[in-house]
Symmetry: C2
Subunit: 389 residues, 2 copies
């Protein structure tokens, strides 16, 4: 079950022929109400794809949406005015099919940058998708399948609450390749929520989940996380309850993204503890997660703590105060670095599990944050060098 | 010719047994004067190796130095108080051998972090180095060889001026692996210069050369660039002449570092032009140079401009103002992206040369900067996953 688990939602996923393969490549998620509340969080990349420009504007202006059209096989990014017109055309046609106005239709695209979408096939596929709309579990799964690019598995989630649910689909082949594997997420809920509450809940959820999955800082032009609320349960949870449920769903999907990093041999959780602020913990953890040297070492099953503290040391003291002579590092429970120097023998670290736990203790405060990433592997290089050729 | 090309300098490079191989691993560069002016530029990483702590303090305090001891086979980083004591011991023994005070001896180390140096062997090797000190070209080359780690070739330079010279040695296997391949550089000159002039000249030189060679932002714990002036030519060049000569020498060595990136198949020059400030040009170029997606694409001979503008787009508008709808990208002379959209067919780009020229035109001002990097290859992953095992 996924986006169709909460009441008030139908979905479909079809093969429109946008991809060169015959795989599903066009998804439709429709909110049948009674409410149509919508919220969105978007890439902060200044190079925004046409669907992001369209969808961000509609979500901000309307705070409501009847449906979302998502396609794989093309990002519709860096496609100029023609690309924006294509996004508008898609919204117009979907609005006709759903008997609403274009402003109520949100658009997400993923695939190669700089290539126009095959609009004839996309629009024909849209009709097929509309005809196949269903509240069944299979329809939600078809939608999850239609947004896959290099993903090897569909990503879905359902969170159960007392009388209401949150469902979701996501795509993104780990954060190993976010430039090609734009992260697209659609969360649905049959809880009742006004725009402000849904928006706040989504932001608090993404801040500690999707925003903390990182590998190479290659922010996509298309990253989009949408939340749709139908109110069909007739239950209005407290704002913090809704935020908690969206956070749980987002954390679950974020872990699935990390786990599906093609070619990765390790998932890495980098926890920075006893930082002066939460932001300091995030920034230090992110610096470590972006160290190619550290990530290549993990691929070699080497708990190379020198590369960990070296990455931490790149952050200026005014951003993350700590004493380099006090820093401790634990890899899979073994304290390999004590007070900035050699700790336990690194050969004591068991690097065989897929999940590698790195804990960095800054001894500078009481704040903590965890960033998820993957190791840097031959397959990462291979996949990303071969993608557009 | 290298550090011994300017008058007043002797050098040596010996095998002290610090490396497990029998390769040279200990170098000594001595300034016989009459002047002993010294300047240094050091890593900004807060995790500084013991030799960096020692050397930075002496250069700042004294502004003079009689000699430099450099070793490969061990970084003496994250080695605590014992590691600092080892750096002191090295300076003390070198001072005895050179009949000076320890404060006049600078120390540089490179190799694995977190491993103590084999001091007995190092100190014995130091005596051998002192006995072999010579002003010959071969002695300078031996010193260049003794600081190599994963370098495949020695890096040396000589710049001729009217009556004076600048010489230099460097190590660093490209910026592909700066964490293991700490960049160490010693520049010598027989020009006469006071401390302030030499310091200013060195800073202006490194700013536009070594500071603009980048690949993964993995700043080393040991990076050091030293300049020594003997005054033996009895010529005092104008400050800007000295700065120009040091810049020329540094640019030459920086290019050698990029060219010796093991396993790299392409050197990449990323020029950002028409930026609002020089800093904006540097920051945008650096963001592109740190995109694993872009660098893997270059490895695949793919002029993937989408990844170039996507990386540029990660820089906030207040730091580097530009209109995403105006950005142009040229790869090896072909305008693959025009006004933020598709330009010439990417198949027109000849990616066969080792050097790849990327030009990004921001249309936002008159400033320009170039950052050098390499592509991201299988061999990068292999080397950096296998290093400490």
């Amino acid at each position: 079950m996924s986006v169709t688990a909460p009441r008030g939602f139908r979905a479909a996923g079809v093969s429109a022929g946008i991809k060169t393969s015959s795989a599903r490549d066009l998804a439709l998620v429709v909110n049948d109400g009674p409410q149509h509340t919508a919220a969105g969080v978007f890439t902060t990349n200044r190079i925004q794809a046409a669907p992001v420009v369209w969808t961000q504007a509609q979500v901000r202006k309307e705070g409501t949406a009847r449906g979302v059209v998502l396609n794989s096989g093309g990002a519709n990014a860096a496609t100029g005015k023609a690309g924006y017109a294509d996004a508008e055309k898609t919204a117009q046609r979907a609005a006709e099919l759903l008997q609403t106005v274009p402003e109520q239709v949100l658009i997400c695209s993923t695939g190669l940058i700089g290539v126009p979408l095959p609009m004839d096939r996309l629009l024909t596929g849209l009709e097929a998708a509309q005809q196949q709309l269903s509240a069944s579990a299979g329809a939600g799964l078809n939608a999850a399948e239609a947004i896959m690019t290099t993903d090897t598995v569909t990503k879905t989630v359902v969170i159960e609450r007392d009388g209401w649910r949150v469902g979701g689909i996501a795509k993104g082949a780990g954060m190993l390749a976010p430039g090609m594997a734009t992260m697209l997420v659609v969360l649905t809920t049959d809880a009742a929520a006004d725009e402000k509450t849904l928006d706040a809940a989504l932001r608090s959820a993404t801040k500690v989940t999707f925003d903390r999955v990182d590998s190479d800082g290659c922010m996509s032009t298309n990253d989009t996380v949408l939340a749709l609320a139908s109110g069909a349960s007739e239950i209005t949870p407290a704002p913090e309850e809704l935020a908690q449920a969206l956070t749980e769903a987002s954390a679950n999907l974020a872990r699935q993204l990390v786990a599906d990093a093609e070619g990765a041999t390790h998932d890495i959780a980098i926890t920075v503890q006893n930082a002066s602020t939460e932001m300091a913990a995030v920034i230090v953890a992110r610096a470590i997660s972006r160290s190619n040297l550290f990530k290549a070492a993990v691929f070699g099953n080497d708990p190379n703590w020198g590369r960990i503290i070296s990455a931490a040391g790149t952050i200026p003291a005014d951003i993350a105060p700590f004493d380099p002579q006090e820093i401790d590092v634990y890899v899979n429970g073994v304290q390999v670095c004590r007070a900035g120097g050699v700790g336990e023998d690194r050969s004591l670290v068991d690097m065989s599990p897929r999940e590698v736990q790195v804990v960095v203790d800054l001894h500078a405060g009481n704040f903590e944050a965890t960033i998820w990433t993957n190791d840097l592997t031959h397959d990462y290089v291979h996949e990303n060098s071969a993608y557009s050729s």
